[in-house]
């Protein structure tokens, strides 16, 4: 039988199948990893796109409208042309949903022959919707025939909701457009033939909104009516065509082109044809694209590092594969085989392995990514098809080129070794490894440090550049992997310490034997040590990333919401929102703090700043905070707002009660005094009902929820309405005193003279008056302050005059810098037309809900600011935000709050966190890391086993001599075990150090989004000890088991055969 080089290669592979299998597995793992990562990324981008489009809701629909479409011909022409244009531009990326025409509103004036009007709610309009019957269910009556009755009555249907609102029923005849004069008749009557309800309100047919108050006519009737109405004046009929995004055909890679084409359609319909083109899909997907670009950089950076490890593993296994063949290759060279021929033989071997590994790797990647897609992204994942795999072709070619370069290079080196080189290499003393030539490794380590620093910088730089230019990314993407490799190589300097370690850890003959092996050839395990260190580093980094991501996502959700739940409310015009009422009815509230959020402009600068006025006493109990938000703890800074607040009246001593002389006209109200303690904790201490006529001395016990810190500050009085008396009358106050526990009293305010006290009604009709003492209701012949009490206008408050001193403010460092103002400096701030002087008493870099980089902001004491604003007649001077802390699941409360009429915005920490953790791009990065760790672990374990299999085989001669001298076989095994244990220990130490270094360098700059909400507050690295321990245990246990198995297999030999070979 003839022998060929191909057959020789096949036979050799079969002969050394463990090595060949290991090599094949290495290739398989590399291909699988290399293809899975981009496939998962592709799935993530598709899932992300789906998620974005779904979240767009009605904004995701494309609606094209053409005005003044008054005839069926015009209507048909528009529909035909619009559909053709959309199809030509966007193909099947959009699906048609509805075609319809809508006319003007038709005020009703007669019902069944009797005068009847719609006084409350919208008047109906007229419309005709194609295929309405398919999307609605009749509730009553019958569909409207598309005809006009002999008496000129039109037939129409309405939604059941509209029928209920209008109190119509099937069969009713309604007339519209009462003629203003006999010469101007646009009146018409219609018969309601039936009512309907949408089969599915979320049906894309409705484009997000069911036309609830439209009179639905047949098309012919509609245009006949339009023609009738247009006799007097243009009826303003608008034809519309709606499209929904076809998720199955929208692909992330083409999304930029899609957005561009949508925009071109906008140009055609909205600009050239003067129609209306409304959609939010192009801007929505553009935002997604920006996030995708940023996330891609990070994912690619991690993938590059993982791929580098995979390639190294392949090289590592190939090294053993070739090393085991070295004697054979040397003999071939000795027999005159040319280098090229030997190289060809090796390339054929690698090629055969690749032919087996690449299809398997592709198949494994396909299955793995599908499985991961379903696992991570659930049903939202689009199905992968062959084009997805083909899309990875450039990446695959790059990988193939890298693998070819690595394997070809190693094969070339192996083919150059002669018999003499092989023989002398085995007997030669250990030489200095090449990577330590002229301390190359140490130089590399020194270079790696600035590389990691550069990675930190580039992380955020990449975000900034992402939208503009990503050309520099290729180098940045590989920097971490390169730095990691350089540091791992430099760490090999510590490897000789392993010998020292064995000597101390494992006593007796096995330890001595292992020590001897490690000291004789310290570099024999170097490549394995690097591989194992990489595996540990990847695993640990993955666990640190997961913990960091989880913790920072939670922090960012909390930062964005500020508390468990934050609601922003606004009143109707100048009516204060019933914020306390909204909160009072909620279940599970553990604490609440009301705040004011508005806009201000410091000085005459053009700078707009967000003004957040908080009540420090309650705020710190409910607001989220973190130590690194400012140079000083936020609590301490907030205390400065209390300490340096100049407003209110400081009460001397430690009053236990507040007493005041009060004259009441028998008001239906309750009088309370607003006090705060030295920490800002509030107390509304009640004097009780004012439903008495005449004068009384009322007392209010000072009772805080916890023992107060003195001195106390009196901020004012308020009268809440009660239902036990009239809400209009008068009130007189005098002789305000603080009563100590020992009975002594201190006058706080006599109200005998005018000294700036003022009153305000907080309600729809806001009014303010200064309190002017007079003798209308004298107290022992002395003047008292009489207040008109118009409680129907809202809560009545009266307060001492605001101080002339500036209000303390915490200012963001960015704002201070922009203003050119330093700490301790005061400046005026304009809130609307009111000027408030503020004094910068503290600097905060970050403050919950406020984003440096987007917002300039100041934090002020709430009560003092609102008092000053109210004093200067600012119409919205009341808290408009509630920060809530819950002791139980806030979901029911959130649902309840969403139904509040005054609600403007609601942020719930739990929902934000769930959204963040469910972000497909974030999941893609986690999946990449998980796949990477699994692959790295698999390759490391294969490498570890293979290495000790080869090592044990190569030592047969040594062990044979020892065995011949009486050493039991178990000692060989135990000595190998000692070597393995020390190597693993080394790998864990070095790998952990590398992981921590990498985490420190990369994690602060790892971003999956350019949005500030996903970046602020800055990343804090977190380590989950349990996860980290599990990773290390996994590496340790699996690798050691593989090593033991391999050394058992490799350590078996026939003693006499070996001795015979030794001569």
């Amino acid at each position: 039988m003839g022998l060929s080089t191909l057959r020789l290669a096949v036979v050799r592979l079969r002969h050394q199948w463990p090595l060949a299998a290991a090599q094949g597995l290495g290739l398989l793992a590399a291909v699988t990893l290399a293809v899975t990562v981009p496939l998962v990324q592709s799935i993530a981008s598709e899932a992300g796109l789906h998620s974005v489009v779904e979240r767009l809701g009605s904004k995701g629909f494309v609606t094209i409208e053409q005005f003044n479409v008054a005839s069926p011909e015009q209507y048909n022409g528009f529909q035909r042309d619009a559909a053709k244009r959309v199809r030509a531009q966007l193909g099947d990326q959009l699906t048609p949903t509805a075609r319809y025409a809508e006319g003007p509103r038709q005020p009703a004036y007669m019902l069944n022959g009797a005068h009847w009007t719609i006084d409350d709610g919208p008047q109906p309009d007229i419309a005709t919707w194609e295929q309405l019957e398919s999307h609605v269910a009749l509730v009553a009556g019958s569909p409207a025939p598309d005809s006009i009755a002999a008496d000129g009555t039109y037939n129409f249907t309405v939604s059941a909701d509209a029928a209920r609102d209008y109190t119509w029923k099937a069969g009713d005849v309604v007339c519209f457009n009462q003629p203003p004069s006999p010469n101007f008749r646009m009146d018409w009557c219609g018969r309601l033939t039936g009512t309907w309800a949408p089969r599915d309100a979320h049906d894309p047919y409705w484009s997000g909104t069911v036309p609830g108050h439209s009179l639905m006519l047949g098309r012919t009737s509609y245009f006949a009516l339009i023609a009738y109405l247009s006799r007097q004046r243009s009826a303003g009929s608008t034809a519309s065509q709606a499209w929904a995004p076809a998720l199955g055909h929208l692909r992330a890679p083409q999304i930029a082109a899609f957005a561009n084409q949508v925009n071109q359609l906008r140009g055609v319909f909205a600009v050239q044809r003067d129609g209306l083109f409304s959609t939010g899909i192009d801007t929505g997907v553009k935002d997604f694209r920006d996030r995708y670009d940023v996330a891609s950089f990070t994912i690619q950076m991690v993938a590059a590092a993982l791929l580098a490890i995979a390639l190294y593993s392949v090289a590592f296994v190939a090294g053993h594969f070739l090393s085991a063949q070295a004697p054979t290759l040397a003999v071939l060279r000795g027999r005159g085989w040319s280098r090229r021929r030997v190289w060809s033989l090796l390339l054929i071997q690698f090629g055969l392995l690749a032919i087996a590994a690449i299809p398997l790797g592709l198949a494994a990647a396909w299955l793995l990514s599908r499985w991961l897609g379903n696992l991570v992204f659930g049903g939202a994942t689009p199905n992968l098809d062959a084009s997805d795999l083909l899309a990875q072709a450039p990446f695959g070619l790059l990988l193939a080129a890298a693998l070819a370069a690595i394997l070809g290079g190693l094969a070339l080196l192996a083919s150059r070794r002669s018999v003499l080189a092989v023989r002398r290499g085995r007997s030669r003393q250990a030489e200095r490894p090449w990577w330590q030539w002229r301390n190359l490794d140490l130089v590399g380590a020194v270079v790696a440090v600035p590389m990691l620093a550069e990675v930190q910088l580039q992380g955020s730089g990449a975000v900034r550049a992402a939208s503009a230019d990503s050309s520099g990314d290729a180098l940045n993407v590989v920097l971490p992997a390169l730095a990691l490799a350089l540091l791992a190589v430099a760490a090999l300097r510590l490897l000789p310490l392993a010998g020292w370690g064995v000597r101390h850890l494992s006593r007796g003959l096995p330890g001595a034997l292992a020590t001897w092996q490690l000291e004789r050839q310290p570099v024999q395990h170097a490549r394995l040590a690097v591989l194992m260190s990489f595996a540990v580093a990847v695993g640990l980094f993955s666990s640190i990333y997961a913990a960091t991501d989880r913790a920072n996502s939670a922090d960012r959700a909390a930062y964005r919401s500020g508390a468990d739940v934050r609601v922003l409310l606004t009143g109707f015009n100048t009516t204060p929102p019933d914020i306390e009422g909204a909160v009072d009815g909620l279940s599970g509230v553990a604490g609440s703090s009301m705040a004011f959020r508005g806009e201000g402009s410091p000085g005459r600068s053009n700078l707009n700043a967000t003004v957040l006025a908080i009540d420090p006493g309650t705020f710190r109990q409910v607001a989220w905070s973190r130590r690194d938000l400012a140079a000083e703890p936020i609590d301490q800074l907030e205390q400065k707002l209390v300490d340096q607040d100049p407003d209110g009246v400081r009460l001397a001593g430690e009053p236990a009660q507040i007493s005041m002389w009060v004259w009441s006209s028998g008001l239906g109200g309750e009088l309370g005094v607003d006090l705060t303690d030295a920490t800002g904790l509030p107390c509304v201490c009640s004097f009780g009902s004012l439903n008495f006529t005449g004068e009384r001395v009322l007392t209010a016990p000072v009772s805080f929820t916890s023992p107060p810190r003195y001195p106390l500050r009196l901020r004012g009085f308020r009268v809440h309405t009660t239902n036990d008396g009239p809400h209009d009358g008068a009130l007189a106050v005098g002789d305000l005193r603080g009563l100590a526990r020992d009975g002594t009293s201190t006058v706080i305010e006599s109200f005998e003279a005018r000294d700036g006290w003022w009153q305000e009604s907080q309600g729809p009709i806001s009014d303010t008056f200064d309190l002017i003492p007079d003798l209308t209701h004298p107290l022992a012949g002395k003047p008292t302050a009489t207040l008109p009490a118009h409680l129907f206008r809202g809560t009545l408050v009266f307060r001492p005059a605001p101080s002339q001193q500036a209000l303390p403010a915490l200012v963001s460092s960015q704002t201070l810098q922009a203003l050119g103002v330093g700490l301790g400096q005061a400046f005026p701030m304009h809130v609307d037309t009111v000027v408030v002087f503020v004094l910068a008493v503290g600097v905060v870099d970050y403050f919950p809900t406020l984003y440096p980089g987007r917002d300039n902001f100041l934090i002020l004491p709430r009560d003092s600011l609102l008092e000053r604003l109210g004093h200067e007649h600012y119409s919205l001077a009341w808290p408009n935000e509630a920060w809530l802390k819950f002791k139980s699941d806030p979901a029911p409360a959130v649902k309840q709050l969403r139904g509040t009429g005054d609600l403007v915005d609601l942020e719930a920490r739990g929902s934000l966190l769930a959204d963040a953790l469910g972000d497909p791009l974030r999941k893609a990065l986690q999946s990449t890391l998980t796949i990477g760790f699994a692959a790295a672990l698999a390759m490391a374990v294969v490498g570890f086993g293979l290495h000790f299999l080869v090592a044990a085989r190569e030592r047969h001669a040594d062990y044979a001599i020892l065995r011949a001298n009486g050493m039991p076989a178990q000692l060989v095994q135990r000595s190998l075990g000692a070597e393995q244990a020390v190597l693993l220990l080394y790998s864990i130490i070095v790998g952990a150090a590398l992981a921590l270094l990498l985490a420190w360098a990369i994690l602060p700059s790892v971003q999956v989004s350019p949005d500030l909400e996903d970046l602020v507050p800055p990343t804090q690295v977190h380590i989950d000890p349990l996860a980290a321990g599990l990773v290390l245990a996994a590496v340790l246990v699996v690798a050691f088991a593989a090593g033991q198995l391999a050394s058992r297999l490799g350590g078996r030999f026939h003693l006499l055969d070996e001795l015979r070979l030794l001569g």
Partner: protein
């Protein structure tokens, strides 16, 4: 002349040491001639074989084999030389053979690069195996062959490309006497038939009977040569001290010790010979 070495010097480095393995060795071999090289360990035998095998060039001196100047041969030519001019049998038979291949395939391995058309390989390999007496084992792998058969196979592999010179390092070291004799007899016949020259390194005295000359190497130089001549009583060994081309004479150590010769001797020229005396 198939081999012509003159003043061959070879120095190699091991760790920090420089070892002078050959110190001006002279060696000539006629076509079809078979010689054995003997000498103690470290005398330079293996170095000489490596040089003649084209594995490495000499440091100095002349080494020509079948017209190839081994001192000035580029690597491609050296590869061709190893492929076509010499066949080498390394000391341990397992080194020479591929355990995963059958005997027939083993012999074909060198042929793969030998410039012989592939279709001729099996036939040639089979003939070689038969000539070496192991034709019946052609389909067996080395592990299933006896020690002598493996060594025969190793020789067949070395002769696969019909080399002009066969180099064998201890070809009988792993064999018992009778197996060794049988193998050597078959080898001698084959070499004679193919007119192949051979140099064999050996410590085996019985091998000396199957070669034309036995050359002793000492301290990197040829020292004694034993030729066989026909006498009435059969073959008799004729031991000669070698006088190299520089006129150096290396006396056998036993003779030096027996005569008590020191570092200086007196040389008297007689009519047609020299006399050497203690100084």
């Amino acid at each position: 002349m198939i081999v012509d070495c003159e003043g061959l010097v070879h120095i190699y480095k091991t760790a920090e040491l420089e070892v002078v393995a050959l110190q001006g060795l002279d060696l000539q071999l006629q076509e079809g001639e078979t010689i054995a090289i003997a000498g103690r360990s470290g005398s330079g035998k293996t170095t000489l074989m490596n040089i003649l095998a084209g594995a490495e060039p000499p440091t100095a001196g002349r080494a020509r084999v079948a017209g190839h100047d081994l001192a000035r041969m580029p690597e491609p030519a050296r590869e061709r030389y190893r492929r076509l001019v010499v066949g080498y049998v390394w000391q341990h038979s397992h080194v020479n053979l591929w355990p995963e291949l059958t005997a027939l395939e083993n012999v074909q391995v060198p042929m793969l690069s030998g410039g012989v058309p592939g279709r001729e390989h099996p036939g040639r390999a089979r003939r070689l195996l038969e000539a070496m007496g192991i034709g019946a084992q052609a389909r067996r792998r080395p592990a299933r062959l006896l020690g002598g058969e493996n060594q025969r196979l190793a020789l067949a592999v070395a002769l696969a490309n019909r080399p002009a010179l066969l180099l064998a390092d201890e070809p009988t070291a792993e064999l018992d006497s009778s197996t060794a004799r049988s193998l050597l007899a078959d080898l001698a016949n084959l070499l004679q038939e193919t007119k192949t020259s051979a140099i064999m390194v050996t410590h085996d005295r019985q091998l000396e009977r199957f070669v034309d000359r036995v050359i002793q190497i000492r301290d990197g130089r040829t020292s004694l040569e034993t030729r066989w001549r026909e006498t009435d009583a059969g073959l008799a060994a004729d031991e000669l001290v070698i006088l190299d081309r520089a006129g150096r004479l290396q006396l056998p150590r036993a003779l030096v010790e027996k005569l008590g010769l020191g570092e200086r001797v007196r040389v008297h020229v007689e009519d047609d010979h020299l006399r050497i005396y203690r100084a």
